[in-house]
Amino acid sequence: LLPPSPVCQIFSFRDCKSSPDPILDPLVTSCGTATPIVIDNGSFQTRADWATVDLDSPRLLFRSVAARSRGAARSETQIGNDIPNLEPLRWLLKSQFDRNVVVNFEIQELIFDHVFTHLGITSEGRVEHPIVLTEAPCNPLHCRQMMSELLFECYGVPHVSYGVDALYSFHHTNNQKNLRPPQTGIILSSGYHCSHILPVLNGRLDAVNSKRVNVAGGQAAAYLQRLLQLKYPGHLAAITLSRMEELLHEHSYTAVDYQEELEKWRSPEFYEREVHRMQLPFSGKLPGGCVSVEERQERRAQQLRRLQESNARRRGEKLHQDQERLDRLMAVQELLEDGFLDQFHKSLVELNMDSAEELQSYISKLQLAVEQGRQKLLHSDGAEGKTEDTLTEKPNMNPAFNMAEYHQLFVGTERLRCPEILFQPSLTGEDQMGMMETLQYVLARYTPEQQEALVSNVFLTGGNMQYPGMKERVERELLAIRPFQSHFKVTLAMQPTLGAWLGARDWALEHPPGCGGGRVAGWISRQDYEEKGGEYLSEHCASNVFVPIKINKTLPARQAEPSVTLPTEASGPVRMVTSSPTSSSLTSDVPMVSC
């Protein structure tokens, strides 16, 4: 009776190639030019489409990256799905984001061009539709100013609305479940660069008590990549970020109890069953092909030894020559001593010397040199005792060498270590609090009644929340945080990645901007932009909190826009920045340190 063959889970990387987006038909509804365009501007992915009820998901979904090659081919930029495979162009990829905030507006302009072109907009001189755009929680005023400038002045958009993606997703799920507004709850949103804890009280974001943890999907992918590259130094090039993202999306999970789960992985049987063996394509590389640091050092030492030997040999030869010359001179001197004067003088002439004293001085010098040479030879001989000993011996090829196994990456505990960094950032050396500790910190700032209300509606959203086991883990940690026998409820968003776009679409349909007459809350019109500046935000149920601080706009060197910087009417108390240093002097003060 044969023992049952061990269960082996062998997978291969799908390495999907993306195909370019088509140019879609403009789904302009009966509102005509008032149909809004909803763009969820994410640091991982951009999601955009028209705001109509018929769509279940946005049709434009692409990575927020642009591949711009340097030099003469600068105009050929590829965006998002135009790039079939990101890996060969990894070093050319640029994103408009720095963490979760837009800083590079040239690339943002390229992204907008791509979005508007593929949504079928052909109007001349301006985009005639209102835009709903997502921004980071507590987006810096400078960034909002630049974004408004880009939308209003470059694209001529009539109305713009900014909102927080997690809040849109929250409202979308509440609408789907027909829960009556205003809602109270606490949102745990985890994206690609950051994770946020956003308390919502009576329908409005309590921004003062929100917190951000700078650990999310991107850091998990980089961590996984480094772990596997260190474990498999021979496969450095095959361990790409795209494959890491695939591993995280499809082969990773969150442990409900991390310590307990790790103990399970100690047992070899569990390991054999649960390890995911990722089969790499055959590459023809044999182990030991790459030169490690040790081998390079060994080679250098070898070269040094060879040099030393040749030096020693040369010294020995010189010594020999000197010895011979010394003997000859000694012989000539003996001629003098023995009285053979004629021969002595002849030899002196041969040697090119004038007198016996010169001969004597030469002899003494040579004796000294010979003595030193002999000393050196003695020393080096002693040092060279260990000469060509056993150098690198080739490792014997194990006859049972399994070529298929050599090309497999064993992903074991990495499956749960990488999602764990959200809860324990110290795994990557970050000293910030993890997500649940931050939640505890945020809750502690409220009264017990408020805490009860918040915790009765914990909402998980964002792409990084989609690991199996995430909801159970949050529930378990919340049980540990909350007082004995108190209640709480955790909900995962119905669509964690698309929820933001769907929520923004719902909001846009419920709150159309309205033309001319009445001002609708949540929309910034062209007139608002010109009067109140680019950093103005019109608040609504899913937006940031607007703090009315006026910042000066730096003018471009060529054009001057006098109507922008002068406020014609101030709405409410507005704080002005009195001393206004120009941007150039600021950049010279700030050290240019790359994050």
Binding site: A72, T413, Q432
Partner: protein, 192 residues
């Protein structure tokens, strides 16, 4: 091809400017290294533009002609989309006229420094004060190799391990892999 070179030199000195700038941007290219020795040590910017271009013509370098020919052709092929204002200039970038230094965008650190100088009140949220504070709990120690809870640290390499097999594996690791594991948890020692 020869006819193009005189045209670019004569028509506008501005075209020579970007071409010279482009040449200057790539210090490794043969155009720059060949142009510098004949010109001598330090040159003023305006003089060098004309000199470099004439040197390019004199040496007949192949590099320059593809640059100029591509620049004229790309202006023809790449059409900007119709829905944009063609004369729009980003204000944050400073513009090319402000000098080459200001052409980069501010990164997040610089923007945060600027934000903090604004007159915020204590209870107003901004990007900086919603950053989570450092952790109050001591961190748990895990093995650098397997991720299991680690009770032991190797004094030679400072890596953490759980079992004797891991220890023997650690002692056979090359130094770059050891440094890699330490860098992963930001434990590389700062050499005094």
């Amino acid at each position: 091809m020869a006819s193009q070179l005189p045209i670019t030199i004569k028509s506008h000195p501005l075209a020579a400017g970007p071409a010279a700038l482009r040449v200057k941007k790539r210090p490794g290219s043969p155009a720059v290294s060949a142009a510098q020795p004949p010109g001598g040590g330090t040159k003023k910017k305006k003089m060098s533009a004309a000199e470099v271009v004439t040197d390019m013509k004199a040496f007949g370098l192949v590099d320059s002609s593809p640059l100029t020919s591509v620049s004229t052709s790309t202006e023809g092929t790449a059409k900007p989309p119709p829905f944009k204002d063609p004369s729009f200039m980003h204000s944050g970038i400073g513009g090319a006229a402000a000098g080459k230094k200001n052409r980069t965008w501010k990164n997040l650190k610089q923007i945060m420094v600027l934000e903090r100088t604004l007159p915020w009140k204590l209870d107003e949220p901004n990007y900086y004060n919603i950053d989570a504070p450092p952790s109050l709990k001591p961190s748990k120690k895990y093995s650098d190799i397997s991720g299991l809870p680690a009770n032991y640290t190797d004094p030679q390499t400072k890596l953490r391990f759980t079992s004797t097999e891991e220890f023997s594996y650690i002692r056979l690791l090359p130094t770059d892999v050891v440094t890699g594991y330490l860098a992963l948890r930001k434990a590389t020692c700062i050499v005094p």
